[in-house]
């Protein structure tokens, strides 16, 4: 029973997310460390690509974490640190791409498609309402009206 409980506890412990940041990387100043963590979460690990360097165990991610902390210790602002990294690795390293000319399609594209769809729907619905209102149908002739009346009377 005790062994089973221990096994269950061990199994549960693997559910907790593994922390990539090693104890020897952590800065003694908690304020700086918080800033470093926040910056690291915005930077893409170029080896694993869909993880931030804060999450990644790749050696390059560790080097970049250390670099971020070194820049902060040297007195750089958060933006300065980001700039330092993007100067070397390009916008690709940012998990949140910036809004500028080359990323315009990325940011505006979905809204443009939505607007196009809305415009299309509007035109379609307006066209259909015209049909329903009988705008482009000729009125019944006297003969047609008589036949229609006859058909309707049959049901009574």
């Amino acid at each position: 029973m005790k062994r089973l409980l221990l096994a269950a506890l061990l199994a549960l412990s693997t559910l907790a997310p593994a922390l990539a940041v090693q104890p020897d990387e952590v800065l003694p100043d908690p304020a700086l460390e918080t800033r470093a963590r926040a910056i690291s979460q915005e930077l893409r690990c170029l080896v694993c690509q869909n993880q931030s360097i804060d999450d990644s165990n790749a050696p390059l991610a560790r080097d970049l974490r250390l670099l971020v902390r070194d820049r902060l210790k040297a007195g750089d602002s958060d933006d300065k640190v980001m700039e330092y990294v993007t100067d070397r690795y390009g916008d690709y390293v940012l998990l949140r791409p910036p809004f500028k000319a080359t990323t315009l399609v990325l940011w505006v594209g979905p809204f443009a498609v939505l607007l196009l769809g809305a415009a299309g729907t509007f035109l379609f619905l307006r066209g259909r309402r015209g049909v329903a209102a009988g705008a482009d149908t000729a009125p019944l002739s006297a003969d047609e009206r008589r036949r229609l009346d006859a058909l309707l009377r049959k049901d009574d």
Binding site: V47, P59, D63, L64, L67, D87, R88, G90
Partner: protein, 179 residues
């Protein structure tokens, strides 16, 4: 006219489909370098300890002629695969090749070089990988083509193949030497 309008969704779908299909051809690991056409970073790396014959590598050595800077490590398997290509480039095709030895143990690097040959005009040892970060290195091997003014003009990620050399590197070297 109205008929054509009905074709519009199909055409749109076709366009998007083709765009996505072409996207499959691209290698997601091939990240464009932020440093193309910019001056190579300023650095001064010592020689691999025990291999001082050619001296270390610094940015000063990268001006004058068109050169190739190759980032390699003894622990990197594709580096071994591209080594004959680099050797040929340096010994037969007349391109000066410099090496940056990335996060390597000096004794491993020396063994590797004596076993596979040393085609490099000079090698800088980047033991903590900081200089390589300045170059935007994210996976070894990587190769950079530097023009006569010391600017980075071309980057190749992954092992150099004879095809890349013939189709991209050599024409670029020729072009840059004239320019």
């Amino acid at each position: 006219m109205r008929r054509l309008l009905y074709l519009l969704p199909f055409l749109l779908f076709l366009g998007v489909g083709v765009a996505f299909y072409l996207g499959f051809e691209r290698d997601p690991r091939d990240i464009p370098s932020a440093l193309i056409d910019k001056p190579a970073p300023t650095f001064d790396l010592p020689a691999v300890p025990g291999q001082p014959a050619t001296g270390g590598l610094s940015s000063a050595k990268l001006t004058g002629d068109v050169t190739l800077v190759n980032v390699f490590a003894s622990w990197c398997i594709p580096c071994k695969a591209e080594h004959p290509v680099i050797t040929r480039l340096s010994r037969e095709q007349g391109v000066t090749v410099f090496g940056i030895n990335y996060k390597d143990k000096p004794e491993d690097a020396l063994t590797w070089l004596s076993r596979n040959g040393n085609p490099y005009a000079a090698i800088g040892a980047d033991q903590d990988g900081r200089v390589s970060i300045d170059w935007g290195v994210y996976g070894v091997p990587e190769s950079y083509l530097i023009d006569r003014k010391g600017r980075i003009r071309f980057k190749h990620v992954g092992p150099l193949t004879p095809q890349v050399v013939e189709e991209q590197i050599l024409p670029m070297v020729k072009h840059l030497r004239q320019g």
